[in-house]
């Protein structure tokens, strides 16, 4: 049973990866990556990593892929040349083939005898949230905190990079309407009225009593 599931999920993962690389439309590439990630979550389940499989589906196939889909639909496909031509492309494929051959040689010639077994005998609680949580909060506390800082920095950085520069919001010529303009009575001698009167304009904003 586990062999059948492994070959289904493994071929799904490889097919998804090939789809990401070869499809012309970036939107279809994202969908192929979703297929790849779901197959990979099935492989994680076969390796008794339940928590990581659930996190893979929720975080990757859920959140990150939604981000990709939004950006792809925002940017569109406008005139993007899809693939390299000529020598660069051939060189890229040759490099990938050489990398695959090298990794296979490294795996076949490995001195690790355990990779031809089904793995060590795992107890019942292997890979469940309790084990991962206790490891994260005791042995790996520093990487955990560093990862949280990294997420915070990435969120701030993304907002700073992608924010709207200039535009109507930051235009100083546009009058800024604040909540106080709505609730303040007229002719109170406030600073806002003085500024408006100095420019020769009647204060039109405000409640007339």
């Amino acid at each position: 049973m586990s062999e059948v599931l492994f070959f289904l999920a493994g071929s799904g993962a490889i097919a998804g990866a090939l789809g990401v690389v070869s499809l012309r439309n970036a939107f279809y590439s994202v969908l192929a990556l979703v297929c790849h990630l779901l197959s990979l979550a099935a492989l994680f389940l076969l390796l008794q990593a339940q928590f990581v499989a659930a996190a893979q589906v929720i975080v990757y196939a859920g959140a990150v892929m939604v981000l990709y889909v939004f950006v792809v639909s925002y940017i569109g496909q406008g005139g993007v040349a899809m693939q390299m031509t000529g020598r660069g492309r051939i060189g890229g494929y040759l490099f990938a083939g050489a990398l695959a051959a090298e990794l296979m040689i490294a795996m076949l010639g490995s001195g690790l005898h355990a990779i031809s077994t089904d793995g060590a005998k795992a107890d019942a609680g292997f890979g469940d949230p309790e084990q991962i949580g206790s490891l994260l909060l005791t042995k790996f506390l520093f990487p955990f905190e560093a990862a949280s800082f990294l997420l915070l920095i990435a969120a701030v950085g993304a907002v700073v990079l992608a924010r709207r520069r200039g535009g109507a919001i930051d235009d100083p010529a546009q009058p800024v309407l604040s909540v106080m303009d709505m609730i303040r009575d007229e002719h109170l001698g406030t600073m806002a009225e003085t500024v408006n009167a100095g420019e020769g304009a009647q204060p039109t904003i405000g409640r007339s009593s």
């Binding site: 492994f6 590439s29 990593a49 959140a63 925002y74 795992a122 991962i132 920095i153 969120a155 520069r165």
Partner: protein, 99 residues
């Protein structure tokens, strides 16, 4: 299934991702191929974690997922900023730093 089969899948996916990074010109697809490579590394980490019967590899995989999410966020922010400035979304055409 023997652990070696999982490692073989991981190696194949990693090579496909590396080939995609080298050949595709759309930076969005380049980011997707980087995700492929990171996920292949995750699969190898979890396979080795199963091989040793030790949960440490799964924690590594979760940290790798966090790093991948950060990379995607910043990368997509850069791409959106490029789009806002009207630059061509093509890694070969961006040569302002070329000198």
């Amino acid at each position: 299934m023997a652990i070696g089969w999982y490692l073989a899948v991981s190696a194949i996916v990693f090579s496909i991702g590396a080939g995609g990074v080298l050949t595709r010109r759309n930076p969005l697809v380049t980011l997707l191929c980087l995700e492929l490579m990171l996920n292949a590394a995750n699969l190898a980490l979890i396979a080795f974690s199963r091989m040793h019967g030790n949960g440490d590899g799964q924690v590594f995989a979760i940290i790798v997922m966090v790093v991948a999410a950060c990379e995607v966020t910043v990368g997509l922010g850069v791409i959106v900023a490029m789009h806002r400035r009207g630059l061509i979304i093509d890694v070969d055409e961006l040569r302002e730093l070329h000198g």
